[in-house]
């Protein structure tokens, strides 16, 4: 009985409170309850309204899906642009780095390339670059860096090219001492390649080359442009078998660890065989002559 009385009391009280509340709110219009209610319900209402608005605008599920697909395509396009932007930015930085080369030699047509692979099986530190025939690169194009000659393009595919460095015994570059004009052939040697050095061979017995002299290309043969820095003379020595003298040359950059290069795709005098400035050396290697260049790079 007591429980029933208690329940009746609660029900009556609730009823009265609600009636009073209704009466008060009806009379005042806006009050604390309506404020609380609206604050709580606003986000839900907004969502519902947005959904209803879409409904009202008559957009079906298919339309929303197509819009979603369009937005996805737009995102992909923007992402692609961002990637392109990064590539262009990187290339721009490299071009800025090598701007001096282009400034000093306006006749050079160059392609800046990154080294993407160094084959562990290559004894003379050859590498692969990320530019190929698509970028106007042909076999035997000279490869340089800011500080001088690196080597030449020995193999070309559409998107990549292999570069053989001056450290290889296959290299035969007409070069001369800038000060004394003693000329010879810059070529790799197994004795010095581990130290990142190569030699200037076939020099005259009465040469005046000294340690510290700068060696540059002669340009004879039309494969390499004249005046490209090859390196600095670090030592003068004699061949133990035939006592012919040679000079050991160290390039200004370590060819074993460079990360980007410039390929000269065209220059004034390319393929033109000229007279040697001195009489000691008359040509570059036979293999890198004009005929070879023309036959290999027919796509250019």
């Amino acid at each position: 009985m007591k429980k029933q009385d208690h329940a009746k009391k609660i029900l009556t009280t609730t009823f009265i409170v609600l009636i009073v509340t209704a009466a008060v709110t009806a009379a005042a219009g806006k009050n604390i309850f309506t404020d609380m209610y609206s604050a709580f319900m606003k986000p839900f209402q907004q969502t519902a309204a947005a959904v209803m608005e879409d409904r009202y605008m008559g957009r079906s599920k298919e339309e929303l899906e197509s819009e979603n697909a369009e937005l996805h395509a737009e995102v992909d396009e923007l992402l692609k642009r961002v990637i392109d932007y990064d590539d262009i930015k990187k290339e721009n930085e490299l071009l800025r780095k090598y701007y001096g080369i282009k400034d000093d030699h306006p006749d050079y047509k160059v392609a800046v390339a990154d080294i993407i692979r160094r084959d562990p099986n290559d004894d003379f530190y050859g590498f692969t670059i990320d530019k190929g025939s698509r970028d106007d690169i042909r076999k035997n194009d000279p490869v340089i860096i800011n500080s001088g000659l690196v080597g030449w393009v020995s193999e070309v595919s559409v998107t990549t090219a292999k570069v053989t460095t001056l450290l290889s015994p296959e290299a035969k570059v007409g070069a001369m001492d800038m000060k004394t004009h003693d000329s010879g052939i810059a070529t790799g040697s197994a004795n010095y390649c581990s130290d990142g050095q190569f030699i200037l061979s076939v020099i005259s017995a009465d040469n005046k080359i000294k340690e510290g002299d700068i060696v540059v290309t002669t340009g004879v043969g039309g494969v390499y442009p004249p005046g490209l820095v090859v390196g600095k003379v670090t030592k003068l020595d004699y061949n133990v078998f035939d006592t012919t003298p040679y000079a050991v040359i160290k390039p200004y950059d370590d060819l074993r660890s460079i990360s980007d290069v410039v390929v000269i795709t065209d220059f004034e005098g390319q393929g033109v065989i000229e007279e040697a400035p001195d009489t000691d050396v008359n040509s570059d290697s036979d293999k890198k002559n004009n005929t070879d260049k023309d036959t290999e790079g027919s796509d250019k």
């Binding site: 084959d119 050859g126 020995s154 015994p169 040697s189 197994a190 010095y192």
Partner: protein, 197 residues
């Protein structure tokens, strides 16, 4: 696809990964200015867990990749690695125990053949000036570095191999366990008596 195919796909993935690692400039530390040939120990390690024909195929594939990357004669390295892998797999099946010591032995043989023959053909016959320096400072160091990488590659390949063979063994053991002795046929009881494992 069964575990065997997944395992082989993973070998190919491992091959691609190691090829990238060995060629990426300034990634692997140089040992006396040389870098290792990681695909040789990979081919030899995979052959320790595979059938002779797959070993031959995988060895030839690794060799072809080495040849094409170095711009040498195609098939030069692949013939050597292919044959060594084939015989390794065949002998492992018949005579020898499959463990890391034998893999190290096979890898040494493969590396000596690959590096030695390259030296002979490309340096000795061409009579490079200073071929002895090249042998000492490049070829021997490359051989040692390649061989030294074998245990790591063997362990990775072993993990790849085991990840798809363990499951099968466990299921087989479980199946045997759940057959009560009383329910076995007389023939299977006799078989179990003869071969308790």
């Amino acid at each position: 696809m069964t575990g065997k195919y997944y395992r082989r796909v993973l070998y190919i993935a491992e091959l691609a990964l190691l090829f990238l690692i060995e060629g990426t400039p300034n990634l692997l530390p140089a040992f006396y200015t040389v870098k290792p040939l990681l695909l040789v120990p990979l081919a030899v390690s995979a052959a320790a867990f595979e059938t002779p024909y797959f070993s031959l195929f995988f060895g030839v594939l690794c060799g072809l990749i080495i040849d094409s990357a170095s711009g040498g004669v195609m098939g030069f390295t692949s013939i050597i690695i292919g044959f060594i892998c084939y015989y390794e797999s065949e002998w492992n099946k018949k005579y020898l125990k499959n463990n890391i010591y034998f893999v190290l032995l096979y890898c040494a043989a493969a590396a000596v053949c690959v590096v030695g023959l390259k030296f002979f053909v490309f340096c000795f016959i061409r009579q490079y000036d200073g071929a002895d320096v090249l042998l000492r400072e490049h070829y021997l160091m490359r051989l040692l570095y390649t061989w030294a990488c074998t245990p790591i590659i063997y362990v990775v390949t072993l993990m790849v191999s085991r990840s798809f063979t363990k499951e099968k063994r466990r299921i087989k053991v479980k199946k045997r366990k759940h057959v009560p002795h009383s329910q076995r046929s007389s023939a299977s009881r006799r078989r179990a008596k003869r071969n308790p494992l």
